[in-house]
């Protein structure tokens, strides 16, 4: 059942929000626990669901997400509920306010049943860096669910929560969605508010959605999108009724496929499934053409200079004064020792890469150069969008890998983001949808990327694929 159908039943009183919440909470405590998908399960969700039912009984409308159980990644703040960023550094942090994204879904009637596990501060692509242990892939528990939104993906694929709020700074919604076989969406930078999101890289971060279908994800995005006076990078532009306006026709759609996406490192079955998916678009009247974008070769290099640089600056706030641990009386001693003791290895690595890239003597060579290359990439992508509506390719070069398989090969781990980072570097919206099975009978994701603020074209094209089986 879709979110819209479920919410309609709750709004009519045919289905009780409290029963639905109880069912999902039970799953969170059992399957969710086995998968290590949650850091905090919110049992008070029952009370919130009761309020939704009471509103319905009084003849009030709780909203388009009435009584819909959902999960929120633990880097997104939820007032008065522990929000750890999946790091031991913040293991006792109680959020003093809620993120705008959380306020908006709650105002639309959603019921948050838990805070999901992830890589710490969303640093990672497998969930294995979490200070609370890795989440497992529900399709094969020896494999990772991807990351950094690992618990969100694990819960969503296990049917716990009807949608999941995640964050996507370099692919952290789309890659795990591909690894567990669900739909994962990253909005245009500036479309959804970042207020109340624990910052990773502020010029890249977005709040995204994992769901069972494009229709569900489009509906949630309608609720999330729009201007927020607490985030100066959000735009005051009308939010289309994405889910209502979904079209199933792709006739005349122009799709560019960068040939650089099919070079070394891609698994043969991933390539095959993506080719088959593109063939479906061709048969339905879309133009699908190969293009050459040599600059894509540098996407990971610029990403892993710019993002750690912004991280090293954002992480400076964890000084043990306003939040964090206070184990030593002296400020400086506490600062160095608690950061050394409680930051997970990947947090330390990224802070240090960023500090290196920004330090005197290296800033020109790394940070400033990467900024310029990013501008060049953005211009080249804009040029492609003058002739095409979408850029398509695989979401990740492989299917979900085994736990521990890449932990000793950092560069290889970073390269698993090779297809997703471009959307973050250029601020474009992108979506991953399941397109069949690859090696080990694990799902493969097809990624579509549109020009900035053209979410509707993205949703239409993805919806076509999901409804034309």
């Amino acid at each position: 059942m879709t979110i819209s159908e479920t919410a309609a039943k709750i709004r009519s009183g045919e289905l009780k929000a409290v029963d639905l919440a109880a069912e999902h909470l039970k799953a969170a405590h059992t399957t969710g626990k086995e998968l290590n998908a949650f850091i905090t399960v919110i049992d008070q969700a029952i009370e919130r669901a009761k309020q939704i039912d009471e509103m319905v009984a009084r003849g009030e409308d709780p909203g388009v997400l009435a009584g819909i159980p959902c999960t929120v990644k633990d880097v997104i703040m939820t007032k008065d509920i522990r929000t750890t960023a999946s790091s031991r550094l913040l293991e006792n942090f109680i959020a003093p306010y809620s993120a705008t994204a959380v306020e908006r879904i709650e105002a639309a009637g959603a019921v948050i049943i838990g805070k999901t596990n992830s890589d710490p501060f969303a640093f990672g692509g497998s969930g294995e860096n979490s200070g609370f242990g890795p989440a497992l892939n529900p399709l094969d528990r020896e494999r990772v669910p991807g990351g950094s939104s690992s618990g969100a993906a694990a819960a969503q694929a296990a049917g716990i929560g009807m949608f999941a709020l995640g964050t996507d700074t370099g692919g952290s919604v789309r890659q795990p969605s591909a690894f567990v076989g669900v739909t994962g969406f990253k909005p245009t930078y500036g479309r959804n508010s970042r207020y109340g999101l624990i910052a990773m890289a502020s010029s890249f971060d977005t709040v995204g959605v994992l769901g069972n279908s494009v229709e569900d994800v489009a509906l949630v995005e309608e609720v999330l999108a729009g201007k927020d006076s607490n985030d100066a990078t959000t735009y005051d532009m009308p939010v289309p009724a994405y889910s209502r306006d979904l079209k199933e026709s792709v006739s005349g759609l122009r799709i560019a496929v960068p040939e650089e996406y099919f070079s070394e490192g891609i698994e043969p079955l991933v390539e095959q499934r993506v080719e088959e998916a593109l063939e479906k678009y061709r048969k339905a009247g879309a133009t699908v053409e190969r293009v050459s974008l040599p600059i894509l070769k540098y996407a990971i290099a610029m990403y892993y200079v710019l993002v750690p640089s912004e991280i090293s600056s954002n992480m400076a706030r964890y000084d043990g004064v306003r939040f964090g641990h206070k184990d030593f009386a002296d400020y400086d001693e506490n600062l160095r020792k608690t950061r050394g003791a409680y930051m997970e290895d990947e947090v330390k690595r990224r802070v240090m890469i960023g500090t290196y890239a920004l330090s005197a003597g290296y800033a020109d060579q790394f940070y400033n150069t990467a900024l310029k290359v990013r501008v060049k990439l953005t211009k080249e992508i804009e040029t492609v969008f003058k002739s095409y509506d979408l850029i398509a390719g695989p979401t990740a070069p492989s299917v979900a890998f085994k736990l521990g398989e890449l932990v000793n090969n950092l560069l290889q781990m970073y390269l698993s983001d090779i297809y997703t980072v471009t959307a973050n570097l250029t601020g474009c919206p992108a979506i991953s949808i399941p397109c069949g099975m690859g090696a080990g009978d694990m799902p493969v994701g097809l990624q579509l990327m549109a020009k900035r603020f053209d979410e509707q074209t993205l949703f239409n094209a993805a919806h076509f694929y999901q409804t034309s089986r």
Partner: protein
Amino acid sequence: MNVTPAELKKIADLARIELNDAELERFSAELSPIIDYAAQLREVDTSDISYASHVDDFNDTVLQEDVPVDPMLPEDTFKNSHNRKKGSTFITGNIQ
């Protein structure tokens, strides 16, 4: 480009992270290939490109009406800080 444990020690000091010798060895081995990989950016011709720290200049977004709203209470703002006592925000040493 090789980042030696000694260089990494300087970086960790700048980042205010205390690392032991074993960590310095391990992190320098792990980070060198990443720095090396990033160095390939120098191959790209950027002579005609100017800096931008964002994908957009946000000229349309930054100005908004200055409307007062209810502020967060100090006890909420600082509820996660350790050096607190009732009636004060947090305690510091003497400032001279």
